[in-house]
Symmetry: D2
Subunit: 235 residues, 4 copies
């Protein structure tokens, strides 16, 4: 699980050249969250050497790893993903096969982009309600049972005082940091650039997280639901 | 259930002046979807006349009304909303008390704005995945069990061929029309203007639905999940 | 020159009923910046009473008034706008006839929306250049002579230290305040709502100014080029 | 002048290895529009070999080249840019030194991003005016002399029938094609990703051009001012 594509490519190919050193029976499982292009390059290099390799970026955090409830989004041959399950199920509850090499990265980028969009949308909707006289708890209850429902609202309410045990209830400490969301949105934008896909909402989410991160020194280390603060004061 | 605030205000106050004609024991339940300002004006005029009145905009469509599964989002006195339940439960499964007069309108505007945001976000994420080689069904499955999950993805997948029985599987006919979403987003924008709330995602959703509606003559009458088409061809 | 449409309508029609008191030969020139709908209502009420009335919102600020370089954007009959010039030229250098009653307001809303868009765009482009190692002065020089050129860059460079005598060179004091831009963008959004026009850039500009205004207590009183600060530190 | 960074890097370094073949006195002037990272890599490789090299992307089109009015935005050592002028002035009227190696690319990306932003903003403002009853010519005249003024409005009015001799007056044929603007916005987004700069307006411009390009088969080949069509019918 390495921090970026350059380092991953260096490990497997350019620098340490792991692919030239492992046994031919090895199954390489890369859990780094990097650009799909990096994973594809590693996947192809492995294929040329007749090695089995999959990309398997993960979501769920430290708590998910400890509770063995992580989700692994895998790209590569179906048989290799199947074989990897033997190991991955010890850490994760959901092992998905997203498609060929690199597809695990694409799936994670799409999912986290959508997460960022509905997190910001939820923060925006709650603040709009509060600014127009509604109680954020009452509004949350209504939207949870209506068509506005989404994971951010249900598991991770960003408005302080509405839900217990979430980062919003402890000054946005812990959780999934803003800077990690910035990284994942960067990867989604990289994928969109590669395919010239239009991502108006995703692009705006990336810009808003960059703006939020830039407003205060500590913001990049806060949980990503702290985007609520960007929309207004909750004194 | 009247089409706009001007007509509703005309019925109750300015024109037909219903408030001056009903019996004092009447409980007025207005199910129109209009600006909160209109509902508040009607609510206040009723109060001055010592009449009971609530705003109770609805979501769920014709099918919901027939199946008695509508949601009513009510604004007004708690006791009046409670009294209205006797009638409303015959049509709806969820009768919410959102707050004082006008709060039903605000709650509906917030909910539908959030719905538009995650619908567009879902369409965008699915197209980004497809453009990068993923199968929309596989990607939908992954996001459904991950943090990208939301009502649009779960109940109303906008990508053709992924889910049975939804508008996307029948050329976006039926369902909740684009022009109705335009109206609801307009009401959300009106609320945001009144409170100078920042709604970057909501404002962008409103612009994208207006653009989508303007591209083809028939678009305003398509289901609102047809925004998927705006993002690309699915031939 | 009144602060909002409600007050203007109250002066002319609902409250003080000025239109019922002035001499029939009067030419009423309303320089308030208000919604076009308000100006149209006043214009029609004047017409019914066979009075001459135009809307003539102004741009250029206190300095422009003192130097007689204001711009007046007028809506109403051509002959009435012509007649008004006798007075207006004492304060302004450009007296425009935008169209029928209310058109002055629409023209000003469009212009100021476009101003907000290129001001933010300019701030964003300068910061992107600086973040990638460019000197803001050198980049400004290049864009001034290239297709990126616009009024904000030419007359009102938002980056501190690039241009003398502008608000950016004095900590964004003086000038056209953020809160006034928020008001004008609100009027543009009101016009867009009335016509269901798509304004993705204008809507985003409105959201960004609302966000900027909400980050710090004093921001609403800063000059509107302070949006540069929203994009990053210039220490 | 090569189409992308991979090809440019292949010419100078990886493939044809031009840098290993030219005379030591050579001054290499690369006029390709590519990512700053590519130009920097070529610049550094040249430096290691003690060769002089600059990046000098150009703006102005075929007509500008013929009339010798191109603008060259140069990155590299000041002395090398100065030396290059001997050649470049035969084709261009403005030879800018933007900064060190790669800075020419950054300057062009910033400028063209700003161009896209005010072109879309201008289209949007004109359509908003028209939708609210204004004549596009009258509105253009007003904004030209007011703070909304920008290069798109002044030299390249996107509304059909307002200005002679521009693409809008010939069904958006000729000019700077949508697909070239998509490429340049992609390079701006790549620069923003590299520096984690927030570019809300630039990102939205990129998304809107991608959406516009995807609506009709021929759109990518139209002039970029055809974004006006995206905003509405001008029948």
């Amino acid at each position: 699980m390495l921090p970026n594509g350059k380092i991953a490519e260096s490990l497997y190919i350019d620098g340490a050249a792991l692919l030239d050193k492992v046994e031919s029976s090895a199954l390489l499982i890369d859990c780094s969250t990097v650009a799909a292009a990096s994973s594809r390059r590693i996947g192809e290099a492995a294929k040329q050497r007749k090695l089995r390799a999959i990309d398997a970026p993960v979501s769920g955090g430290v708590a998910g790893a400890e509770a063995a409830t992580l989700a692994f989004m895998c790209g590569g041959e179906a048989a290799d993903v199947e074989a990897a399950k033997e190991v991955l199920t010890h850490m994760g509850a959901n092992i998905f096969h997203a498609g060929p090499s690199g597809a695990g990265q694409v799936a994670k980028a799409c999912n986290n982009m959508l997460l960022a969009i509905h997190m910001i949308g939820t923060a925006e909707a709650l603040q709009l309600g509060v600014d127009n006289g509604l109680d954020p708890k009452a509004l949350s209850e209504i939207m949870l049972k209506s068509s506005g429902c989404n994971w951010s609202l249900e598991k991770y309410n960003p408005y302080p005082g509405v839900m217990d045990g979430v980062p919003a209830s402890r000054d946005y400490s812990g959780g999934f940091m803003v800077k990690l969301m910035q990284k994942d949105l960067g990867l989604a934008m990289e994928a969109a650039l590669a395919s010239q896909s239009a991502t108006p909402m995703g692009g705006l989410a990336a810009a808003l997280y960059n703006l939020h991160a830039g407003q205060e020194d500590g913001n990049p280390d806060l949980d990503f639901s702290s985007i609520q603060r960007f929309f207004g004061e909750q004194s």
